[in-house]
Amino acid sequence: MGELKTVIYRNLWKENPVIGQILGICSSLAVTNLLVNTLVMSIGVTFTLTLSAFVISLLRNLIPQRIRMMVYTLIIAVFVILVDIVLRAKFPDISKALGPYIGLIITNCILMGRMEAFAQKNKPSLAMLDGFFSGLGYSIILMTIAFVREFLGFGTIFGIELGLNFEKWTIMVTPAAAFFLLAILIWIGNNRMAAREIKSKEEVAK
């Protein structure tokens, strides 16, 4: 249980892929103007991370060191293409809205990072959980950004009109707004983490 707790804490907060490791920035900027699209993107990334971590961890003793990166990319790509095919067949509208970004999950550094840093060294069950919580950490940040952008930019939540009458913030629908929001989230996160670190150092000193 101790291991699981560290995995959760690390992925959701301390080493959160987006605000802690500054990975997956491209998609955090590009697909966060509508909550529905962001949700699908988050599910896609989490699904891919979980399953590819599991498969790579299963094969970890077989994969030759020299070609491990190729194997990771191959396995990640397989799951991403699966997501893409299912979306195109069953949810054509969402697939159209996300455009090339589903395919770009393959090159999302979070995936390669988790495979190299964790999945190849740990047993399948733990690697799978690590992938899942890493995806969850990514999703939480993206959904937060998307919530603010959709609310202020369109006055809607998940496409539902809230009936609030205020001037829509046009900047919120452009990627520029995502830069500001992301920076604010990183700032808050780093501040809290730094504060906690100082506190724990003081406790050690005592």
């Binding site: 094969l59 070609i67 191959l74 699966l82 095919i85 299912v86 919120m172 452009t174």
Partner: protein, 197 residues
């Protein structure tokens, strides 16, 4: 454990073959669905350009399309004719051209006497969401309906009260590209249609 070249090469071959075959199976399993979705969204779009509204159900789209729309080939170019009481009432022309960030494709319907635009619809584009992407909104597309045109004068954006199409606020460039796209499409097809009607 140190692994030799033979193992490495064999390993990558086996792994690749295994995973690509999974994908091949998934792809062929869903291929029909994907083709159907694409054909359906095409049909829906063609019909919107004629009628000015989207048919709700997929079945209705197919049944109306099958009875009223005929696909014609003129000099290697495909156009769609809308037929009512066995007479052509409008033609739909496929459009494709550059936008601000990428290609815009869609359909443009013109009346059978080739004097008016009947309607317009966009299939795909990569314009800025919330700004240029608003070309998908009803009010923008409605502006093209019943607009007279002639090949001698180009359509223009409304500027100081003069012009045909109101640009989208904050997306003047996209609006300009759309007008240009419509002009180019008319230029490309109207002569063909006049000769071969």
């Amino acid at each position: 454990m140190k692994k030799g070249y033979t193992f490495t090469i064999l390993f990558i071959f086996v792994v690749t073959a295994f995973f690509t075959s999974i994908l091949a199976v998934a792809n062929s399993y869903y291929q029909d669905d994907i083709n159907e979705n694409e054909a359906l969204s095409n049909r829906r779009s063609v019909m919107y350009s004629f009628m000015g509204y989207y048919e709700e159900t997929d079945d209705k789209v197919n049944s109306i399309y099958d009875t009223h729309v005929e696909e014609l080939e003129i000099d290697g170019e495909f156009v769609y004719a809308y037929i009512e009481n066995s007479e052509v009432t409008a033609y739909t022309l496929p459009m494709s051209g550059s936008g601000l960030w990428g290609t815009i494709t869609g359909y443009l319907a013109v009346s059978d006497d080739l004097s008016k635009i009947v309607g317009i619809d966009f299939m795909s584009h990569s314009e800025t969401p919330g700004l240029g992407a608003r070309i998908d909104e009803e009010w923008f597309k409605k502006q093209f309906q019943n607009l007279s045109f002639s090949l001698n004068s180009k359509l223009s954006l409304i500027n100081q009260g003069e012009g045909d199409i109101d640009a989208i606020t904050g997306a003047t460039t996209t609006s300009r590209y759309v007008v240009q796209l419509v002009d180019n499409t008319l230029e490309k097809y109207i002569k063909l249609l006049e000769v071969n009607r």
